[in-house]
């Protein structure tokens, strides 16, 4: 709530959950197990095997007993087993915002009743709203399928065991540009094969075409797939598209596309865009901007205006050639 006006929102965590579930359903991702079912451990923290651990990150705090070469525990001064910290953490290469209504909105109370049983019917109510919402995400292409097995600013992605496994299964070593080992040589990151990395990135993006979840689907059939999308590869960790939608009106209730803002971003960051910027829009959604968007796409050689799914597909084709 801001200035006495309400903005509805879906938490970033929920969006990630929808995303994961969609990847499982439509892209055959085997998700890293999280809860115990007889003999499975919670999230494996194994990004080599599980694409979702790679893309969505994890943290697994643990201590392990230090053993000598014969596998016997090494004792400390007090005669207890010496322990070392074997925590592994991975920051998610996929960052997503919350999904929040562009304009202010009001929820209404919808009365329903449950009356299929014998006896009195049971009334209940739920809050509902209808609005245009915005979300943004970024995926760090350099981090996907690329792991540090050493401590990098307090984070370590992989255990030694997984590193060995990965390297014997086609992963390669890659120089870390920033971290040097004791002898002054570049530390070695472990990187999965390009085909695996590309597949994971493309699956993640394509899942947006069919993403579903939340929104009390049973009664509302809320379609949460994007109706307007901008996809671009950038040589930067900035998120410049955050202001391309805005609100107006007496209560800031109108959602507007900020065409001028979009033009400004395309202009200002010209050097940082790699390849084509794809804009996808669903026909019937904000059609009043069709002409403005067509004009905009005409002004820039590197902008293509398509339907949402076309934009996602063509962007995926482009990205397949951009991954090193």
């Amino acid at each position: 709530m801001k200035n006495g006006r309400y903005y509805t929102y879906v938490s970033g965590q929920a969006w990630r959950y929808w995303w994961r579930e969609t990847l499982k359903l439509n892209h055959n991702w085997e998700l890293s197990p999280i809860t115990r079912e007889s003999k499975i451990a919670f999230t494996e923290a194994n990004p080599i095997k599980f694409a979702d651990d790679d893309i969505f990150g994890y943290m697994k705090a643990a201590k392990d007993i230090v053993r000598d070469d014969d596998g016997n525990p090494i004792l400390d001064k007090k005669g207890k087993d010496q322990k070392e910290d074997v925590t592994v953490t991975r920051t998610s290469p996929l960052k997503n915002s919350v999904i929040v209504s562009v304009g202010s909105t009001q929820t209404v109370e919808n009365w329903s009743s449950m009356a299929r049983q014998v006896g009195d019917s049971v009334p209940y109510s739920k809050e509902e709203y209808s609005t245009i919402m915005k979300g943004m995400f970024s995926l760090d292409l350099l981090q996907v399928g690329t792991f540090a097995t050493y401590n990098k600013t307090g984070f370590k992605n992989l255990t030694e065991k997984l590193r060995t496994e990965a390297l014997s299964n086609g992963a390669t070593e890659k120089d870390d540009l920033f971290v040097k080992d004791k002898t002054g040589n570049a530390a070695k990151l472990v990187q999965l094969d390009k085909s695996i990395r590309t597949q994971r990135i493309i699956d993640t993006l394509k899942a947006l075409k069919t993403i579903t979840g939340g929104a009390m689907q049973t009664n509302n059939m809320g379609d949460v797939t994007p109706k307007f999308i901008v996809l671009a590869t950038m040589s930067s960790g900035n998120h410049p598209f955050s202001h391309i939608v805005k609100n107006e009106g007496r209560n800031n209730e109108k959602a507007l596309l900020n065409i001028e803002g979009l033009r400004e971003v395309l202009q200002d960051y010209k050097e940082q865009f790699k390849g084509v910027v794809f804009i996808g829009k669903r026909s019937g959604f904000m059609d009043e901007y069709n002409d403005d968007l067509a004009t905009l796409a005409g002004e820039f050689e590197n902008v293509r205006l398509l339907s949402v799914n076309q934009a996602i597909d063509q962007y995926c084709e482009q990205i397949a050639n951009q991954i090193m």
Binding site: R36, S92, V100, G154, F178, N238, H243
Partner: protein
């Protein structure tokens, strides 16, 4: 004084209290220095080893709300996680439509924000941030600043009214990471009224007729080496 101003915005932001591990997670109303220096590291692409650093910053937001999060509580045995996970709900406070302005004296650091290496965040994974403006400016010194808002000020010597919190200045890049230079700060919300202080600061204008006095933190990292 000649400074580089860097403006960042985000739809959401949250800065956890360093001393609260479980239960309700409120957000600080101004980020600690360690968060800001972490942001600089993200922009730079690597851990910065400073000798000394001079930095000021101002933070504001439009609203505060509470989010519900699912957490998985994993029980441990002998310091090792077991396979038992129990899901629970956590209330986390967050800030809506946040604005952070950094004041730097070093052109090199300012340049990192022209093309940040890692994705920038104001808080946690979901708090994507955008650099909206970078400019050079001249700030006039103010003695006995009375417009100190939206900032954190060391409590020792200054003793300003505000929320008192022990906050770190930075983190080491060792494993595990240790906090550096933790000391009490007064956290002064951007909405605070003018308060008379004995602080030497520098005056900036956030907007016409919206003056703000910026306190510059001068950190000597050799003390903590």
């Amino acid at each position: 004084m000649e400074v580089y101003k860097i403006d960042l915005t985000s739809w959401t932001a949250s800065f956890r209290y360093p001393n609260l591990i479980s239960g309700f997670q409120p957000t600080l109303e101004v980020p600690p220095l360690s968060t800001v220096l972490g942001l600089i590291n993200a922009a730079a692409g690597s851990y910065q080893n400073y000798q000394t650093l001079k930095i000021g910053y101002y933070f504001e937001y439009e609203a505060k709300a509470v989010d519900l999060e699912t957490i998985y509580q994993i029980s441990s045995k002998d310091g090792k996680p077991t396979n038992q996970a129990k899901s629970n709900i956590l209330n986390r406070e967050f800030l809506f439509n946040a604005f952070l302005r950094l004041y730097l004296t070093d052109n090199i650091i300012a340049d990192y924000f022209r093309q940040p290496y890692y994705p920038l965040l104001l808080g946690r994974m979901n708090d994507l941030a955008t650099v909206t403006n970078i400019e050079k400016g001249e700030l006039a010194a103010v003695v006995n600043a009375d417009k100190v808002r939206g900032q954190i000020i060391p409590f020792a010597k200054n003793r300003l009214a505000g929320q008192i919190q022990a906050l770190p200045k930075y983190f080491t890049n060792s494993f595990p990471r240790n906090n550096i230079g933790t000391e009490p700060y007064s956290i002064i919300n951007f909405k605070s009224n003018a308060l008379a202080t004995g602080i030497q600061a520098f005056r900036d204008e956030l907007a016409p007729n919206k003056p703000i006095d910026i306190y510059f933190h001068e950190i000597d990292f050799s003390v903590y080496a």
